[in-house]
Amino acid sequence: MEEWDEVEVPDNVKEIFVDMKNTAELMVDLAYSAVLFREKEIAEEVLELEEYLDVLNYHLMVRSVLSARNLRDAERITSILQMAHSIDEISNAAADLAKMVLEEKLHPLVTEVILESEETIGKVVVSPESMLVGKTLDALDLSTNTGVWVVAIRRGKRWLFDPDEDTKVMPGDIIIGRGTRTALDYLKEIARGIIKVMPNE
């Protein structure tokens, strides 16, 4: 594993906080994906992110304390620290969810709960005929155009977790996404090549 003191962390409170919030939300999505598909590799990633989030939280606290210039400032900064603390709690909960996958003690009902909730997780296989192929996630903007948030991509034997905007979709990719059932079904049709154009084109 990497040494955490060498990990790059954004250098101001705002950016650290944004990173923390995004990371915690990603962790919850990944944890539910790990549970749904019984994927230990995804669960391991959640635990790694949990460590990263702890580092972020520490840096946030140090910088917040440093930035207070007077009493009013200090008081307002407690609001940021309280939120960061809550985000950390959410990430701990996500990590415990991921641990359930590693311990292999999941009741089938847990899977059903994930599938029946309003926002669920789905697996979308990209066929070579799909209009998604060769385009970047940035260009596709799937969250806006289909309501599906890409959580991870399985490419061959490799996982791309939280793939960045320049990632190009390749034929055979398996996209793990979060969204409503309708949104996921819609993306599946696009990925199978049944729907040829995106709504906003």
Partner: protein, 192 residues
């Protein structure tokens, strides 16, 4: 309904509510809104009740199980969702304790991947008179409506049959809030 059906229904509700509570709690801080923070508090109480209900039902179900330990993950899932909702309450508590939110929080909420924001429905908007079922905002523009503010009243977690009216303030989480603002008839500065 069997015990398992009941447990499943409770857990689905808990999972949906805990996700809603996080978004609501962040919006309460973003807009320094006591109304929204109060709602998070009420939902937190509901989550406590649901957690207890799941635990009781699971214990009852365990009596008929050959391997009662297999039910442990069900209780764990309830606990995890309860903890997420506690965390959300911790955020809303900032507002309930009357602590002034730091100004950068608003910028932060506009900068995260899932952007929080609100849009006011102007006269002539295409949204007016349509139900959320008709609008299908989650799949059409990647937007979930957390609450509708109508006059002094809030409709939290609006259902499919709720309709949008002129003057409504839509509190939403979205990958692109400007899309919702345009549909609501707000003037939106073009970014580039």
């Amino acid at each position: 309904m069997s015990e398992y059906d009941e447990i499943r229904a409770c857990l689905v509700e808990m999972k949906d509510l805990s996700a809603l509570m996080i978004d609501l709690s962040f919006s309460s801080v973003m807009y320094n809104s006591e109304d929204i923070a109060e709602e998070v508090y009420l939902l937190e109480e509901k989550m406590d009740d649901l957690t207890l209900k799941v635990k009781r039902l699971t214990l009852r179900a365990a009596k008929g199980e050959e391997d009662p330990e297999s039910l442990l993950s069900i209780i764990d899932l309830a606990d995890i969702n309860e903890r997420i909702s506690d965390a959300a309450y911790g955020i809303a508590d900032i507002i309930l304790r009357d602590i002034e939110p730091h100004p950068i929080i608003k910028e932060i909420m506009e900068d995260t991947e899932e952007e929080l924001g609100r849009a006011t429905v102007k006269s002539g908007s295409v949204l007016i008179g349509k139900s959320l079922a008709q609008l299908k905002l989650p799949s059409k523009i990647g937007t979930r409506i957390l609450a509708i503010k109508r006059g002094d009243r809030y409709i939290y977690n609006p259902g499919k049959e709720d309709t949008v009216e002129e003057g409504d303030v839509l509190i939403a989480v979205s990958s692109d809030m400007d899309k919702l603002r345009k549909l609501a008839g707000e003037e939106v500065e073009e970014e580039e």
